[in-house]
């Protein structure tokens, strides 16, 4: 077979791509080092910023598939809390295995329920997300009354030492393959590009959208394990409190998808990492860490505004709202 006819990337352009991709976090980190060298000049603290972004990264990857097909779902936080409570509960009976299975199985279930509600309601995903969020938050509060919500220390191993890297690398491989080397990944990218055309090409859009919820749930399960193992405890939230869990990861995903020089899966890592560094920069400047969301929000609006208006081919995410004419 004529295999060499396909274009191969040269090593030079490969290096250029890596540099372009890592430009943002490296620059941000430089700012950090300049503001407080004694604190951030060490390699350890560099690694620490990566460590700190792990949980958000895992959540980000779980949302990436949905966002690829324009599904925005803020119920992720509430599902994470609920799955965490169940996982912690099972860890008391069945140990580490109970934690892992409890988190993952319940999270897949909760993701599927959300996907089901989405396909029944036929309203924007963000609304569906809010509706199930109310229910899941409430369930979390009710459940936590009869359950222990702290995890015993011998079950925290997954967030300790090298274990966390192993887990993240395994997740990365899984997500990378799913996104880039499966039929599923190909088809969701097609749907994300143009849903109408994809449907006419014979892709089952409704089924795939549901599957992104299921897959998202599966990945949230692992994010939950990291979240719980990191904190050692899981607290129920109500009154939309769980939404904040999803916010930073979503910012990371959207930032990551805007980075054109690399694959989106890597992009989400770079995005999540960058946002963690922004947080550290703010602390280093002596600003309140609460302001982080303000800066990140404004940052995202600027980046998106720039992206959308640079190439004037603006395509609205929701098909209805197209204001292209000249009123």
């Amino acid at each position: 077979m004529k295999t060499n006819i396909l274009r191969k990337e040269s090593i030079l352009s490969g290096i250029k791509r890596v540099i372009l991709t890592l430009l943002l976090p490296i620059l941000l980190y430089l700012v950090l080092v300049l503001t407080s060298f004694e604190k951030f000049g060490k390699f350890d603290s560099f690694i620490m910023t990566i460590n700190q972004s792990m949980v958000n990264l895992a959540i980000g990857w779980s949302m990436m598939f949905g966002i690829s097909v324009n599904l925005f779902d803020f119920s992720v936080g509430s599902r994470l809390v609920l799955a965490g409570l169940i996982g912690v509960h099972f860890s008391q009976k069945f140990g580490l295995l109970g934690l892992i299975l409890g988190c993952v199985v319940s999270s897949v279930l909760l993701g599927s329920i959300t996907g089901l509600v989405f396909s029944i309601l036929k309203v924007p995903s963000i609304i569906t997300g809010f509706a199930v969020l109310l229910i899941f938050e409430s369930l979390g509060v009710i459940l936590s009354k009869n359950m222990v919500n702290a995890i015993s220390s011998e079950h925290l191993v997954l967030a300790k030492g090298f274990n966390i890297y192993i887990l993240i690398v395994l997740l990365f491989i899984f997500v990378y393959i799913m996104y880039n080397h499966t039929k599923f990944g190909f088809q969701i990218k097609a749907i994300g590009g143009n849903e109408r055309v994809a449907t006419s090409m014979g892709i089952n859009t409704a089924k795939l959208k549901f599957l992104t919820y299921v897959l998202g749930g599966f990945l949230v399960g692992f994010a939950t394990i990291l979240y719980v193992s990191n904190a050692g405890t899981i607290q129920p939230k109500d009154g939309l409190g769980s939404m904040s869990i999803a916010f930073t990861p979503i910012m990371g995903v959207m930032l990551g998808m805007l980075i054109k020089s690399c694959n989106s899966v890597v992009g989400v890592f770079v995005g999540s990492w960058s946002i963690t560094i922004i947080g550290s920069v703010m602390v280093a400047f002596g600003w309140e860490s609460r302001l982080q969301n303000v800066i990140v929000g404004i940052f995202l609006i600027i980046v998106m505004g720039f992206q959308l208006n640079r190439d004037k081919l603006f395509k609205p995410i929701t098909t209805k709202k197209n204001i292209q004419t000249n009123n």
Partner: protein, 321 residues
């Protein structure tokens, strides 16, 4: 001429039933809900203190959901409205330390400005409206947390010296009259509704789409300012979570009140009134009936899903004919 008038009257009564089913069903629901909770709470729901409580809890929702109709009519949503309420309250609180008279205009102005920025991001930067509003929501929430220092910030005592309940009633009435008239009796409301049905057809019929999108977001912004100020007076302190539930409650109220989330022809102020009453009665009723506050969110969420799926089913079945 007489005949024509008779015709119109007869037709109006007919059409009232034919084309307003989606507005009458929620009213019946409200009545059933009141009856249900009146019985389960053993009459407590209808006591004067409960009714006053419902009024006290319900007015911010009434304010925001009435304004939300403007945005939802065009098929957009304003996710920042709740955070905006809290932010306006905090700004008003700060301003009140300089001058108590300026606190109210400051709240309104802040709200309007936030709404304006939302709409400019959408109309000129072409950022999808829900992303623009979500970013705004997180920016405002974080700003509000920073300003209040994470806890509550008491208002100056002088601000509380006016007779609060009368001020509130007067402002509320003026607000309702203005917002209802603009929506139902001027071209603004009718054009917003038209945009919700078809942006393309509206533009070709001379509707200034960009201007109206801006107007709709400024209206929700002003409403957030008003609600924020009045809540500040009632609570006596600004706090990071003040008003934050109003976004989702407004959406739920409008949907329970019979309005379509996609806006358009079903848009009406009645939806906001019925819907916010249903939501508030539900909130109080659950507590009064001793069902436990934890289930409140659960019941609201479940009810929302049920109502939306019924209307989705109805729409898809009517399309088959």
């Amino acid at each position: 001429m007489m005949v024509v008038n008779m015709d119109i009257k007869k037709g109006r009564i007919q059409s009232l039933f034919q084309y307003n089913k989606s507005k009458i069903a929620p009213l019946l629901g409200l009545v059933l809900l009141v009856v249900f909770f009146a019985i389960t709470s053993k009459g407590k729901l209808l006591e004067a203190s409960s009714i006053e409580n419902i009024y006290n809890q319900g007015f911010p929702l009434l304010i925001t959901s009435l304004a939300f109709v403007y945005v939802m009519a065009t098929g957009n949503l304003d996710f920042s409205i709740g955070a905006n309420v809290g932010f306006c309250a905090t700004i008003a609180c700060y301003v009140a330390f300089f001058n108590t008279k300026l606190a109210f205009p400051a709240a309104l102005l802040t709200g309007a400005l936030v709404g304006l920025i939302n709409s400019l991001m959408y109309v000129f930067l072409k950022i999808p409206s829900f992303i623009a509003c979500l970013c705004m929501m997180f920016i405002l929430t974080a700003a509000n947390q920073t300003l209040t220092g994470g806890g509550s910030k008491m208002v100056p005592v002088e601000l509380l010296q006016n007779d609060y309940s009368i001020v509130r009633l007067v402002l509320l009435l003026i607000y309702i009259i203005i917002i209802v008239i603009i929506f139902h009796k001027t071209k603004v409301g009718k054009q917003l509704e038209a945009l919700g049905i078809s942006v393309e057809a509206s533009i070709q019929t001379g509707v200034n789409a960009k201007l109206l999108f801006i107007v709709s977001y400024v209206v929700t912004g002003v409403a957030a300012g008003l609600a924020g100020y009045l809540m500040l007076l009632r609570v006596g302190a600004a706090s990071p979570t003040l008003g934050s539930s109003l976004t989702i409650d407004s959406i739920i109220a409008l949907v329970l009140g019979g309005m379509s989330i996609l806006g358009g022809a079903s848009s009406s102020m009645i939806c906001a009134v019925t819907g916010s009453l249903i939501t508030t009665v539900l909130n109080s009723g659950i507590v009064l009936a001793g069902m436990g506050g934890d289930a409140q969110q659960l019941i609201k969420g479940a009810l929302f899903i049920i109502v939306v799926s019924i209307s989705t089913l109805r729409e898809s079945s009517s399309k088959n004919f």
